[in-house]
């Protein structure tokens, strides 16, 4: 009996420790970013970092204006969401409500395969295939632009949005639908007016998690968006995102240099953006359960 109690205690301790460890990891990552960012901000003014319009890390004097990078990330993310959200939610509705059983299985496994395509492969597809197509369709100077990036990122966000939205739609109690049908609603009316509103918070969470994935994605945007640090006037021009900046400059920056520290500040900005998005997603998920 005593042995059993000890065993229980040990197991409970490990489970609890793992839980706390995750919190500790998040806190440590944040502190780590904050520490190096503070070193950066002690040498470079916060105002010129947040409001500066030029990113010239190896010039003399260096300029670390993050506006083009933040706008680049937001532009790409916004357009990726514009594509992925309607498509993803519609697919989820189809899988959960309308698809025949056999088609459902095929669709679900296709979505899983979509999720497992490595981003570098998508980037490669973007360079040799999608980029030239975009260039010819829209008659723009180069296919290496935000739009190509947005399309590929939408592709990457789809699996997250579809899977979680579908779960949310399916978890709406059957009685809701029965009540709607009982009142004479058609299948579409029941889905649109009853089931979707009931699943809304889950779907919003799905969208937010999908967007979180898009903001943090690096390889694809680095390969296909052209990486020009401009303030983008439209989505069809080359632009540079926060993630691509860190990835392509981190290897070069000498440890301890201002350039090196500046990348931590960029990382901090990115962390704050994804944190906000995940926080909203979490709020929505909780509202659904509560």
């Amino acid at each position: 009996m005593l042995l059993r109690q000890i065993k229980e205690n040990i197991i409970e301790f490990f489970i609890r420790a793992s839980g706390f460890l995750i919190i500790a990891f998040v806190a440590l990552v944040f502190l780590f970013l904050l520490k190096d960012s503070l070193v950066f901000f002690s040498q470079y003014s916060l105002k010129s970092f947040l409001l500066g319009k030029q990113w010239l890390p190896i010039s003399d004097p260096e300029q670390f204006g993050s506006v083009p990078l933040v706008l680049g990330s937001l532009y790409v993310t916004f357009f990726a969401a514009m594509i992925a959200v309607p498509l993803g939610v519609a697919t989820a509705m189809f899988i959960a409500e309308a698809a025949p059983r056999s088609l459902k299985t095929v669709l679900k496994s296709s979505v899983e395969i979509l999720a497992s395509i490595p981003s570098v492969v998508l980037g490669f597809v973007g360079i040799v295939w999608l980029g030239p197509i975009i260039k010819n369709i829209f008659h723009i100077a180069t296919g290496m632009c935000g739009l190509t990036g947005s399309l590929l990122l939408a592709f990457m966000a789809l699996p997250t949005i579809i899977t979680i939205s579908e779960d949310a739609i399916r978890s709406v109690p059957k009685s809701y639908r029965e009540a709607a049908y009982g009142l004479g609603a058609t299948r579409w009316q029941a889905l649109w007016r009853v089931v979707l509103p009931a699943a809304a918070s889950g779907i919003i969470a799905a969208i937010m998690l999908g967007i979180g994935r898009v903001v943090g994605e690096t390889m694809v945007v680095m390969m296909v968006t052209g990486n020009s640090p401009v303030i983008p006037q439209s989505i069809a021009v080359p632009l540079r995102t926060l993630t691509a900046t860190i990835a392509s400059e981190m290897g070069e920056a000498v440890k301890g240099s201002l350039h090196y520290e500046s990348l931590f500040a960029v990382g901090l900005v990115l962390f704050v953006i994804t944190f906000i998005i995940n926080f909203i997603a979490d709020l929505c998920l909780h509202r659904q359960k509560g």
Partner: protein
Amino acid sequence: MRYYIFSAVILFFCACSKEVIPPGVPSGFIQVKGSDTIVNAAQMLAEKFMADYPYVYVAVTGGGSGVGIAALLNKTCDIADSSRDIKPKEIEMAHKVGVDPKEHIVAFDGVALIVNKKNPLDKLTIRQLHDIYTGKIKNWQELGGSNLPIVAISREVSSGTHVYFKEEVVQLSDKKNKDEFDSKVLLFSSSQAIVEEVAQNASAIGYLGMGYLNDKTKALSLSKDGKDYCFPNIKNVLDKKYPLSRSLLMYTNGEATGINKLFIDFVFSSKGQEQFKEAGFVPLKSDVAQAN
């Protein structure tokens, strides 16, 4: 089944570690890192070197000259490839961490400007290039080409070629010149990506080391004064007639010793120099350069 795989893996590692190295034969591991321009040549060198010294393993990675020098300073590589001189700031950093970078000039290179094969232009002056990359010239028509917007492509800031091009073209080799790349210039993280984009985009222009020239794109002849236009080939680089000629470098921490010295010596041998020629660069000695 799982146990079989597991024991196979264990056996494999035992077999590896028990390989008998004859006494007095050089053995070890060399990490070569840096310039994306040199990476293909370095890989060829490494293969030939490993054929001569079977117990030395040479790993070659690219990423850019800055990446290599940063790695040398962080002591994560033995030899740093670079297509630009080490910056005074980097030397200062190096001394702070107790690294003493020693430079070896291993070959010459011309920075070639490439355009799409459909582009009717085949020569430019450095001044015109400057105007393209600082955003003053925006359409090929202004240079006598077809009516297409110019898409200027550059390497990322981690690239030695980027730094070289910035000094020589964007700032016209004038230290006081503070001109910058136009912010609309595209920044690509590899030379191969530049080749791909220029090969399929009639409005594009990009620069890269001579080693990346092939028949997918067209290289331009360049001139400093608008009189003598020179094509980036071995002869013009060796004679320093080509305006964007430069040295390719390797850095070691202090004088190279042991297997690192063996490798550096191999790079300077005629066999090593031939690899540079094969990769499309210009060997140091004109006899290797001219031999067929």
